[in-house]
Symmetry: C2
């Protein structure tokens, strides 16, 4: 459904809600895709969401909606819902989504809900709860198709019809040996085109890419992206197949991780929640600005230190914004290139010094260009060539340092295992501000003999 | 293959290349996945890449490598390759990748290569070349499975074995009527579990989500992400099925678009090419810094305008960095939240004023906090409460304005159909710098009666 059609749907639903046209609403709600309903829910108040939800007739549809809803909305929606109702819906949800949801509830409530689920369902969920949410183990689903290597194509298809009806993404059949170790993979497509007595052993691909349970979800996403597969099997430490991560979850991860990196770099939290209240948003963003505030106070002390220089030539102050601004901007360019390069795997830490040196060169060249330009402007306006040289050199030093700091800092953080996106934003801009101002006044004091 | 294993592979290949151990290299190259070879190629010189490529035995493997290689590397690699060789490889590549490649070559060379391909292949590619590269038409592949609605499951499976052996992602079967209009979809899995005489008509899902050829690739990606499908059918203006976009291409699009937005926001071009030379990178980044330079000159003129104020109280200058820095940082937070919200579809332009007002409130609260803090510091250090009030108010005004400008500018750009990511970076930071400085000196002049 396109953006326009979603908006139309939202407007229709809002109008019908106002009118209380329950019969009409029920029809619409039950034939709308859960993914579209999830978008509509974002723009409704809790009371309206509850009214719509009550009109849903089908528990599978409800389960899909639960999977699609944003966490904040879902948590509010189920707050007053009877536990039996929730447990019934959870039974129909992909088990990784259930584990995510339970992880957000109080231990007490999570346990109560698990107790209400069937034994099979709750065991699967409990298995997943043992893994860190952001690892392969935390995002895998435990339902996959695993068959022995001596199985024939005919038997495999029969198994699909009988034992694996509920499997979410049944496009690969994994082949295991007698110890349930993963030994091969066959696509469903290959299965249907071979003679029915063919044994899986003879048609399976043996170079199957798998991941251990504890590998980070970003690495799983990179593997899916690199090998163009629809699912990655997850194995435990004994190479036993324990789950698969499907491509639809990988897409969500790639989008979330990109959003997270964006927000982290800007120091705006790590989750994009427009539905947060003003006060909550303020709290999230407050600490990130502290670095910048402290940096500003340091810059202020530095300038105070050069007060006598400034007293003698007061319009030195007028160049502070351009020198800080040019440094800040090129520093942001450099750190963005490096942070994104590391995130996509297109840059590796082995190249650290090479990249920093290259950025230093670029910073110098750009600084030379814009410094020269500024020098000319100053010479032209004030006819003071020494002042021109001073501000020109200040721009060059600011931009050169900024490009190097901007590229080096995220790589150093990555090397010592601190998320480069988090550290970069406030740290880079603040240190560039301080260094720019310091070198500017130092150059002015020396060159203008103030 | 994990990052560590890729590095090991790279080191091994480099060592063998130095030794000229051709036999050993040939074995490794031919059993390595094309996606991994593509990563290795990134770290090799052209001569080494050519040496490895010459060792590849299998044209399908070569075709996969072509699809996986980064554009810049591929273009250099084929520069001196015989046209017959290239055409032979192109024959095996997904046709959307061939169209992308030809789009990057001179018209002459593209035509020569097309002429060398089989009629079927070149017609498919020419069909794709008619669409804009960043639309559904430009990223679709023309091979998909389309069957009439009266077909039985048995006949469908027979068709898979006979007519559709080369289809890239044969997980959905599309059902068309007599005019080749798309009327339904069946997953391969459903097909194998129904009785063999069942007609497609009776099991197909009719609410199939399709896109027209001219829809933007980002919208296609959003649809795949929203509905968790493995492929989206593309239809022409008469609802005739003309191709499908597969999930593996969608993953690449999501990653590329995120990277593009990152770089655009930082004003660092729109493609992450670490392999670019220093001079080329400098050229790419130069124009983006111009906005910042001009902003700096304007800030300089503004401060010059307040020269008499500054002359009377020279250490007003010392607060310029903190006032600019706080504004710049909160402005970046606001614009990042909005740009990313628009890109992920979680924010829509209807909410423009609501979001801007909320940001204004957040900016005011954060400004109040940090302004008060700074005011206290000043009062404590200089015992000058009026100066404290001045800088405190300047921080409040700077941060409030910055949050509003930072959120409003990308939404206004989006409304007039200018990419918000492009416009935001230089425009927002520059205008915030100027406004912050102006209001600061205005407040100082009035309050301190300078």
């Amino acid at each position: 459904m396109s953006v326009d059609r979603t908006r139309l749907l939202l407007d229709t639903i809002k109008r019908l809600l106002r009118r209380g046209a329950t019969g009409h609403l029920r029809k619409i709600v039950n034939k709308t895709h859960a993914a579209d309903l999830a978008v509509v829910f974002r723009f409704l108040r809790l009371r309206e969401q509850e009214a719509l939800f009550d009109l849903m007739d089908n528990v599978e549809h409800e389960a899909m909606l639960f999977s699609e809803l944003e966490e904040e909305i879902l948590l509010k929606l189920i707050e007053d819902m009877p536990a039996e109702k929730i447990a019934g819906i959870m039974e129909q949800m992909p088990k990784d989504d259930v584990a995510d949801l339970l992880g957000k509830l109080s231990d007490e409530r999570a346990k109560a809900l698990l107790d209400l689920m069937t034994k099979e369902g709750s065991e699967e969920v409990e298995g997943l709860l043992g893994y860190d949410a952001e690892t392969a183990g935390g995002i895998m689903v435990p339902d996959f198709i695993a068959l022995k290597d001596a199985t024939t194509a005919r038997e495999a298809i029969a198994a699909l019809q009988k034992d694996y009806v509920d499997v979410e993404m049944p496009f690969y059949l994994y082949v295991v040996d007698d110890h349930e170790n993963l030994v091969g993979v066959i696509s469903l497509r290959e299965l249907v085109v071979v003679p029915s007595e063919t044994r899986l052993k003879s048609i399976m691909a043996t170079d199957v890419v798998s991941v251990p349970t504890d590998v980070d979800q970003e690495e799983v996403a990179r593997i899916v992206a690199r090998y163009n597969v629809l699912a990655v099997p997850v194995v435990d430490e004994k190479n036993k197949l324990v789950g698969i991560v499907t491509v639809d979850d990988v897409i969500d991860i790639i989008r979330e991780e990109a959003t997270e990196d964006f927000l982290k770099m800007a120091g705006a939290g790590d989750d994009l929640i427009e539905s947060q209240s003003v006060l909550k948003s303020t709290r999230t963003r407050l600490p990130w600005l502290l670095a910048s505030w402290i940096g500003g106070v340091i810059a202020f002390l530095i300038i105070g230190h050069f007060e006598s220089t400034l007293n003698k030539l007061v319009y030195l102050a007028a160049f502070i914004p351009i020198i800080m601004g040019m440094g800040g901007n090129i520093g942001t360019q450099s750190s963005t290139i490096v942070v994104r390069g590391l995130a996509t795997g297109r840059l590796n830490l082995k190249q650290m010094w090479e990249v920093a040196f290259k950025e230093l060169m670029i910073g110098f060249l750009l600084g030379f260009f814009y410094g020269l330009l500024l020098g000319f402007v100053v010479q032209f306006r004030y006819d003071a060539w020494l002042l021109g040289v001073t501000v020109g050199l200040a721009v060059i030093s600011s931009m050169t340092i900024a490009a190097m700091v901007g590229s080096l800092v995220p790589m150093v953080f990555a090397r010592i295992n601190i998320d480069p996106a988090v550290a970069t934003g406030p740290f880079v801009t603040t240190s560039i501000d301080i260094l720019s101002v310091f070198f500017y006044f130092q150059i002015a004091t020396v060159l203008l003999r103030l």
